[in-house]
């Protein structure tokens, strides 16, 4: 239910911003260094979708209707719903892999959409519990590894890091007419120490997700950290990363315990 609700809120967000396939009208694609993507590209499906309105409608309908069918069937029969989830898995993977080859969004932000079908496939409370916890660990890794990479690659030791990132990310905004966002970013660039502290703070925020591997006690704070990160991503980086929000569910329900075959 929670996943379907978030999924359809994100669908409305995509419609509002014109990010359905039928609205994007893909004409061009780029590849990425991903073996799964290459295997998919070798089928030619990404080219079939170019300038193919019927193809876009078919893909959008399959992708956005299946979770609704799953939700309806789940009220009647968990087993039937799990069959829909089995179909949902390849549909999501093919849709997202193609979608992110076009000028739309990066595939990394869609990771919950790729993995949640595994949770929806479960037919027993026990397997649901274990897959939910597995997804929680994946989510923790998603953030914690970003912090670790910043240390391993030495970016945290580069006092010019945030200045370099902001100039690269916002060069078009900074060379055009001014609004509050451009003024704020320009101010950060002119105050490299403040920008650097912000980068260090973001790294710290990512690293605190490691705590989640040892205890679930602070998950509500991790939810707060996650939301703060998403908002800061929009304000500072102008990167809307809302597609990862379904991962929130893994923290919201992490306190559930498996007792005598039931979840409490």
């Amino acid at each position: 239910m929670g996943y379907c609700l978030m999924f359809y809120l994100l669908m409305l967000y995509k419609i509002w911003n014109g990010f359905l396939l039928v609205q994007l009208k893909p004409f061009i694609y780029n590849s990425r260094f991903d073996v799964f993507t290459w295997v998919l590209m070798n089928t030619g499906i990404h080219q079939w979708l170019l300038n193919n309105e019927m193809g876009w409608i078919l893909f959008d309908v399959a992708f956005y209707v299946l979770p609704l069918i799953y939700w309806f069937l789940h009220q009647k029969s968990i087993r039937l719903a799990s069959w829909v989830a089995i179909i949902l898995l390849p549909v999501n993977w093919i849709y997202i892999s193609c979608y992110t080859l076009y000028p739309a969004n990066s595939i990394e932000s869609f990771i919950p959409w790729l993995l949640f079908p595994f949770l929806l496939m479960t037919t027993s409370l026990q397997s649901f519990y274990y897959v939910l916890n597995g997804l929680r660990y994946f989510f923790l890794f998603f953030f914690a590894s970003a912090g670790i990479w910043k240390i391993v690659q030495g970016a945290v030791l580069n006092s010019e890091q945030m200045t370099g990132v902001l100039l690269f990310q916002h060069k078009e905004l900074l060379t055009g007419s001014v609004n509050w966002s451009a003024q704020f970013i320009d101010w950060l660039i002119h105050h490299p120490l403040v920008g650097y502290c912000l980068y260090l703070f973001a790294t710290f925020m990512e690293l605190i997700f490691i705590v989640g591997y040892f205890t679930k006690k602070y998950d509500r704070y991790l939810i707060g950290a996650f939301l703060l990160f998403l908002i800061a991503d929009v304000v500072v980086m102008r990167i809307p990363y809302w597609e990862v929000t379904p991962f929130l569910l893994t923290l919201m329900y992490s306190k559930l315990k498996l007792n005598d075959g039931s979840i409490k």
Binding site: D34, V35, M41, Y102, T163, F168
Partner: protein
């Protein structure tokens, strides 16, 4: 679960090619310094330069990303010919060049892009000029130089 952990650790260890759903979540973790100059997209529609500040984040992404993709065609083709083809062969898959290689067809791209831009801006576009201008960083301020590259020159 063990499969997922092993898969993710392997991808992190290799730090190169990925395999969906195992990615590197770097999020600007590579060292980035302030460069001396930057290539900035400039789009003039009906003789007026489009300003990022006039559009939402999502709209601006939709305006800029197709240009970046078009300019990247040559690089993507090069990566396919030098690496992808060989790596796929290593795992026993014969790749079909036609499915990977893209062509730089400026005429049809511009035709599509104008139509696309009209939907975003809500205005009819009678003429368009797209180029990448070099800006120089001077005391943390980006200043335009006379150097600019047309879209046609970027996609090779």
């Amino acid at each position: 679960m063990i499969f997922f952990i092993a898969g993710q650790l392997f991808i992190n260890y290799k730090h190169g090619v990925v395999f969906t759903p195992f990615f590197h979540y770097g999020m600007y973790s590579e060292v980035m310094k302030a460069n001396d100059d930057y290539a900035v997209w400039e789009i003039e529609a009906n003789n007026k330069k489009l300003q990022a500040a006039d559009f939402s984040i999502q709209e601006w992404d939709k305006i800029i990303l197709p240009l970046q993709y078009y300019a990247m065609i040559g690089i993507c083709n090069g990566v396919y010919l030098s690496d992808t083809k060989r790596l796929l062969k290593n795992i026993g898959i014969t790749s079909d060049d036609k499915k990977f290689l893209n062509t730089c067809n400026l005429g049809s791209f511009e035709k599509w892009y104008i139509k696309y831009l009209q939907e975003i801006t809500g205005t009819e576009i009678k003429n368009i000029s797209i180029h990448s201008r070099t800006y120089q960083l001077n005391n943390y301020r980006l200043e335009p130089t006379g150097r600019d590259t047309l879209l046609a020159q970027l996609c090779k």
